[in-house]
């Protein structure tokens, strides 16, 4: 129990939750129990509508989603979330004969699907994979927004210098292109490095290029 507790706390500390949307009370309740027993922090919803109402961009973790539900179906919720640029990886829970639906979902970018009745081990492995992937992607996303934010701090001249640095120009060439002295270029260059929060040319280029991808 203590092991489970610490894992759960670790999950909560990282801010990742396993979200569940399933209309069947027993199914949902038992899934919560199973995931919590393996140390995951869980938040469950009885229908797609209540999940959408609660959802905001800060939701982190992954989503276990039942395909068949009265009202808004799992597939419809998935499509709506995609429209809202929700980055939560989605694992579809499918029943008998829903495989074609699941395949369609995979083609539209769902992370995975699992057919009921499923092995707990397999489901937990899927969830863990999704959580690891999502955490990684979120880190990248955060870095990208950070870089984009820093880029907006640059003056027009600094931006020009930065573009020429990335184009591989030497200080002398930059000075010629912009019609300013080498010394001025060096001053701009130092300011760019400072504002972008990097100390080497290599990390500056990596940062800007990966943000622009």
């Amino acid at each position: 129990m203590s092991e489970a507790k610490t894992m759960r706390e670790a999950g909560e500390a990282s801010g990742q939750l396993v979200f569940i949307v399933d209309d069947d009370d027993a199914q949902r309740d038992s899934l919560v129990w199973l995931l919590e027993s393996h140390g995951h922090a869980v938040r469950a919803f009885p229908d797609a509508e209540s999940f959408l109402a609660a959802w905001d961009g800060s939701f982190a973790g992954c989503l276990l989603l039942d395909v068949r539900m009265p009202g808004m179906s799992g597939l419809e919720l998935f499509e709506e979330l995609a429209r809202r640029h929700c980055a939560l990886p989605v694992i579809f829970i499918t029943g008998h004969g829903d495989v074609p639906m699941a395949v369609a979902a995979l083609k539209k970018g769902a992370a995975d699907f699992i057919e009921k009745p499923f092995s707990a081990e397999e489901m937990l492995k899927m969830v863990e994979n999704c959580l690891a992937r999502e955490s990684e992607e979120r880190k990248h996303r955060r870095a990208r927004t950070d870089t984009a934010q820093r880029l907006t701090q640059l003056t027009t001249r600094e931006r020009e210098v930065l573009d020429l640095i990335i184009a591989g120009k030497l200080n002398k060439q930059i000075a010629d292109v912009l019609g300013i002295s080498i010394k001025t270029v060096e001053v701009h260059r130092a300011r760019v490095m400072d504002k972008m929060g990097v100390s080497t040319l290599a990390s500056l280029i990596r940062r800007v290029v990966s943000a622009e991808l």
């Binding site: 092991e3 027993a26 038992s30 199973l34 027993s37 393996h38 068949r68 008998h96």
Partner: protein, 378 residues
């Protein structure tokens, strides 16, 4: 004689004028004019020549997609028509061009030609596409009717699977969660309520099964006294068109004075349809005069009526006989392999037997028995 005809035709084509010739050549339908007495082609537009050869004019029409008096295509032999009878309709029907598999709607009239003799003026329109569409629609309808009953069963099975999945996977989740916590040293007070939830889900599964049982019972076949002739008539009426289309002769041998059988008429009709269709399929490559399918009903041993479906088709190998009734075993390209297994269950439900044996004259004999009404004790 022939040369003179060609010359006349050439003269007539000229006198008809180029615009009219262009119109006729532009038609997709084949247009032709034939001497009614000797069958020599006097005029043919481009579409007709494309079908019969560009040297068709002047030759005797041995047409591929035209009616022929020798074949008995006409009600009135056009060779005997005199000038005062014209104009009159000679032929209006559909013909198959065997080489290309195209169907043509052909209309012919007897008219007086410019020189006063009686000719057959014909126009043949390719209706292959139209025919195909109609055929596909008809087959679709038939298939829907035939499978409606099976679909209901299939849907029910799918519903049952889905409904049972819920409690079963909930039980698995509760138990797996408990196992993980027990391993981590959890106490009874933490696990007990969850074990109770799992037990409640097992009860839920039991109730679903009880509901299914009740449903199955309700949809059990309704057996009543049924005349054998009624079964045969209904089933064969459904398949007559199909037989005609495939060039198969259906022959029915109904022993006189047969007692009624105790059966669900619709279900037995399904069985009969299935067996007859199998017979048709087996005779796909049979010679024309061997394409006969016989349905024979007579008293079987004891209190049974025996109905046999006898084809003259390719027969079934010994190995095939063994696998015949297994679900999903099929020798047909588009078969599901469910037909015979279901037929057998239906017959056995009626306390009858479905057997198969080779036809000594080539082909296969399927025989099923049904109990006569009096033998059933309520």
């Amino acid at each position: 004689m022939q040369n003179a005809d060609i010359q006349k035709t050439a003269v007539m084509a000229n006198s008809a004028g180029e615009p009219l010739a262009a119109v006729l050549d532009g038609l997709e339908a084949a247009v032709y004019v034939v001497d009614a007495r000797n069958g020599v082609i006097l005029f043919a537009n481009r579409a007709f020549q494309a079908l019969h050869g560009f040297d068709a004019v002047g030759q005797v029409l041995r047409g591929l997609v035209v009616p022929l008096p020798e074949r008995g295509d006409y009600r009135v032999d056009p060779r005997g028509i005199e000038a005062p009878d014209a104009p009159c309709e000679l032929f209006d029907g559909e013909l198959l061009q065997p080489r290309t598999g195209h169907w043509y709607h052909v209309r012919e009239q007897a008219v007086l030609w410019v020189d006063g003799r009686v000719v057959r003026l014909g126009i043949a329109t390719d209706i292959t596409d139209r025919k195909k569409t109609a055929e596909v629609a008809r087959r679709q309808e038939e298939r829907i009717a035939r499978t409606a009953r099976l679909i209901t069963m299939g849907e029910m099975a799918s519903m049952l699977a889905h409904e049972l999945n819920q409690p079963l996977s909930a039980i698995a989740n509760y138990c797996n969660g408990c196992a993980a916590r027990m391993q981590a040293g959890a106490g009874a007070e933490e696990l007990l309520p969850v074990m109770r939830k799992a037990a409640a889900q097992a009860e839920r599964a039991g109730k679903i099964i009880a509901r299914i049982r009740a449903f199955v019972k309700k949809s059990e076949p309704r057996r009543r006294a049924t005349p054998v002739a009624a079964i045969l008539e209904e089933a064969l009426a459904l398949i007559e068109i199909d037989a005609h289309r495939r060039g198969i002769r259906l022959s029915v041998e109904l022993a006189p004075g047969l007692p009624d059988v105790n059966a669900d008429q619709i279900m037995i009709e399904q069985v009969l349809l299935n067996l007859v269709r199998n017979g048709f399929d087996a005779m796909k490559d049979a010679l024309e005069d061997e394409r006969v399918l016989m349905v024979r009903a007579r008293t079987g041993g004891g209190h049974f009526v025996e109905i046999a479906v006898i084809d003259r088709g390719h027969g079934i190998s010994e190995e095939g006989m063994e696998r015949l009734f297994q679900p999903f075993a099929t020798t047909k390209d588009e078969g599901m392999g469910m037909g015979l297994a279901i037929c057998r269950s239906i017959i056995e439900f009626h306390d009858g037997r479905l057997t198969v044996e080779p036809n000594p004259e080539g082909g296969t004999i399927f025989t099923f028995t049904l109990p006569i009404e009096e033998t059933v004790s309520e």
